[in-house]
């Protein structure tokens, strides 16, 4: 074979490979690389969407970090939700999954009952919760009052608003329940039998048989939970609007993160700055911070995973 023929063959082979990769390359470039590069670019520009962008140096960055009063509360809230809401959702989802797999009768009914809330649209679900948890007129506080328990302010109290959002997230646990249930049913029964013969109790069986077997699923649930929470937007903004009763009008601005910025999250700031205040540059700064945080959390979890779980995936 002459070198020319060999080169032509290689070129053809490379083109075929490129052809097969093309859909991914196009998708990656259009939906990942271009937005990422644009975001970095616009974070250094002054751009309102109407006039051409102009160089702004690091002004957007310094504005967000040192002058924008909503950034730090939103970051704190987002971190709180990542740590508390994600953890409780994973633990609760796993608990419900364990419970459902142990039930002998009415399994279908319970599976449906726990899964159904997940299908509720987030806006409708949040509004329903805001009415149920209304401190003055909601049935939950009436019930708590009737049995002599304290009646929290829920979405109207800055110290209770995030726990109320967590409750809402636990109510819609159906997605995690299903994947945990599938993982639990996949654990080989022989391993439980061997552990029992070795005298392992329920906790030891869970710790040394169940957990190592489902560890990849737990990791998946945590990582996707972190990512979803980083993008948490609809529920807090709807809860804040319904609880405050303020739609927003001239001279009557909706309080971001009502009450007292306690439900403010970073995606709300991206929307507010980028789409309502026409400050695309600062919105891009916050979007990049979100991106960096999501990547950092994922990397950290991936690194910690080896130490936590003995079994391989």
């Amino acid at each position: 074979m002459t070198p020319l023929t060999l080169r032509a063959k290689r070129r053809r082979s490379a083109l075929v490979t490129l052809g097969f990769l093309a859909p991914w390359i196009i998708g990656f470039s259009v939906f990942f690389a271009y937005p990422l590069i644009s975001t970095v670019y616009f974070s250094f520009m002054h751009y309102d969407g109407f006039r051409p962008p102009t160089w702004n140096g690091t002004r957007n960055w310094s504005y967000v970090f040192t002058q924008y009063p909503f950034f730090w509360p939103a970051l704190r809230n987002t971190m709180w939700l990542v740590l508390v809401m994600v953890t409780t959702r994973v633990v609760f989802g796993l608990g419900i999954g364990l419970l459902i797999t142990k039930i002998k009768t009415g399994t279908g009914l319970f599976r449906t009952a726990f899964y159904l809330p997940y299908l509720a649209p987030p806006v409708a679900a949040t509004m329903a919760f805001a009415f149920l948890l209304n401190p003055g007129t909601g049935p939950v506080n009436h019930l708590l009052g009737d049995i002599g328990l304290p009646q929290p302010g829920w979405f109207n109290d800055p110290s209770w608003s995030k726990p109320a959002l967590t409750l809402l997230a636990l109510w819609g646990i159906g997605d995690l329940m299903v994947i945990f249930m599938a993982a639990l049913l996949d654990v080989p029964k022989e391993q439980y039998e061997a552990a029992e013969l070795d005298g392992a109790g329920p906790w030891q069986r869970f710790r040394f048989v169940t957990l190592p077997n489902i560890s990849p699923i737990v990791m998946f649930a945590v990582v996707t939970g972190v990512i979803q929470t980083m993008q948490y937007y609809t529920q807090p903004i709807v809860a804040g609007k319904v609880a405050s009763g303020i739609i927003g009008n001239a001279g009557q601005q909706f309080e971001p993160g009502y009450p007292e910025k306690s439900t403010l999250t970073l995606p709300q700031l991206v929307y507010n700055l980028g789409f309502q205040r026409f400050d695309t540059g600062s919105a891009c700064v916050i979007a990049l911070i979100l991106f960096a945080l999501a990547m950092a959390f994922t990397a950290l979890l991936m690194r910690r995973r080896g130490g936590l779980i003995q079994a391989g995936d």
């Binding site: 002058q67 009763g245 927003g248 009008n249 205040r277 026409f278 695309t280």
Partner: protein
């Protein structure tokens, strides 16, 4: 790196990027020299959504199409400002040529960014003198730093609603005219019940629906910005006096904690269970639309309406109030600006169109001729709002290049101050000014 690690990292990156993609794109538009006598379709986006409102605006548009048979109007109803903002940014054949918005807060943003076309030359070409056509307060809130990019299309005025039965029971013969009378009446009308209220005279908290800092301070005739456009809430005594009054009123009516607890029992502001409808509060500040809402909710007691009281040292300005309204403008990127202007001109300056629209949706007419029109249906309560709208001392929140952000900053401080979390008023207001200036500088 394992496959799972790579997958998770990719999912994380892709999910974050999808959020960024939406925030960071857009383009600007151009100008037009279209012929408005040719056959053309104009896209009109507006926010009205209720059946009576849609019927009224569609009727106005039908009247316009009768006068201009070559201009067809394609209407997109129930559009909020966020959608309008994006449509004005992106342009395109389906984007709006004419937009209307319920809030005046975005006028500064629309004018300074060039999102809406300057209507000054079009008004001149049509021989319309804005000063002789529209009430002055309405002219003020539809322009920004000399650029008139919007016109008023009906207005809203705020006044004091009161329960006449509650007034009678408390021995009050007339609505309060000054702030000290207002406080005295609010106290008289308040009846405690345990750690709550059987009836509250007035909900003074800044979260009490319309009792916002901006609506309160309008009675003190504030000047938010100095000639250089710098925030001056600390310098203008109107703000200090307003905060002092509100604090005193809160304390006189039972204190912030008790009032907030009571506020949490209120129904929806725009629903039948509004606290004024239910008798939970005996007085409320609200716009003229409350008249129709109260009627629709089947309120049993007779309702009285008056201008909001004024500070004791400004008693001669009684009759003023906070005003705002719907605005309408032409998209800067529209290729049919001249045809679009014909529609805007008709909707905002044709006396019959304005009066018919006002009669149908019970808003305040926005032209001087319409306000005097014999066709205007006006009962004594509605007339109160017509008078407030025309009062030369009535005022509104000024336009700003970043919309209502300065109001958010002021409100934010107000919430802390009324809750006792911020105690130093002068320092707090100086902080408001600094933050407002920083936010505006960031926009420029």
């Amino acid at each position: 790196m394992s496959r799972l690690t790579r997958l998770c990292s990719f999912v994380a990156a892709a999910a974050s990027i999808s959020l960024l993609a939406g925030a960071c794109t857009g383009q600007s538009g151009g100008q037009a020299d279209d012929d408005p006598t040719k056959d053309v379709t104009v896209n009109f986006w507006h926010a009205w959504s209720q059946p009576n409102e849609l019927k009224a605006i569609n009727s106005d548009i039908a009247a316009f199409e009768k006068v201009h048979p070559n201009i067809h109007v394609h209407v997109v109803p129930n559009v909020n400002d966020d959608k309008i903002n994006q449509a004005l940014r992106t342009g395109g054949s389906d984007s709006p040529d004419v937009v209307s918005s319920f809030t005046t807060d975005n006028v500064g943003k629309f004018c300074s960014s060039g999102a809406l076309a300057d209507l000054g030359p079009l008004l001149k070409k049509s021989g319309i003198d804005p000063a002789k056509t529209f009430p002055k307060p309405m002219l003020d809130y539809t322009a920004y730093q000399g650029t008139r990019c919007t016109l008023p299309l009906l207005g809203d005025a705020y006044g004091l609603y009161y329960n006449k039965d509650a007034f009678k029971a408390a021995g009050i013969s007339a609505p309060p005219r000054t702030m000290s009378e207002f406080k005295a009446d609010a106290v008289k009308l308040t009846r405690s019940q345990g750690d709550s209220y059987a009836q509250l005279g007035f909900m003074p908290d800044f979260h009490g629906y319309e009792s916002t800092p901006a609506h309160y301070v309008a009675q003190w005739s504030p000047t938010y910005f100095d000639a250089q456009g710098r925030s001056q809430t600390a310098k203008d005594p109107a703000f200090t006096k307003m905060f002092a009054f509100q604090k005193d009123l809160v304390n006189s009516l039972g204190g912030f904690t008790k009032l907030e607890k009571y506020r949490n029992t209120f129904g929806d502001e725009f629903g039948a269970k509004n606290p004024f409808h239910t008798g939970q509060v005996a007085m409320a500040t609200d716009g003229e639309w409350r008249l129709g809402m109260a009627r629709d909710a089947g309120v049993k007691f007779p309702i009285g309406v008056a201008p909001m009281p004024v500070p004791d040292d400004q008693a001669n300005t009684y009759g003023k109030g906070y005003i705002t309204g719907t605005i309408v403008g032409v998209a800067a990127h529209s290729a049919k600006q001249n045809a679009a202007w014909e529609l805007v001109k008709f909707l905002t300056t044709d006396t019959n169109a304005v009066v018919d629209f006002s009669n149908a949706i019970h808003n305040v007419p926005s032209t001087l001729d319409a306000l005097k029109s014999p066709k205007l249906v006006s009962d004594p309560n509605f007339k109160t709002f017509l008078d407030i709208a025309q009062n030369p001392n009535s005022n509104t929140t000024p336009a700003s290049p970043n919309g209502g952000q300065y109001q958010v900053t002021l409100q934010d401080f107000a919430y802390s101050y009324e809750a006792g979390k911020a105690t130093d008023l002068p320092t707090g207001l100086r902080g408001v000014d600094q933050q407002v200036d920083r936010d505006i500088a960031q926009t420029k």
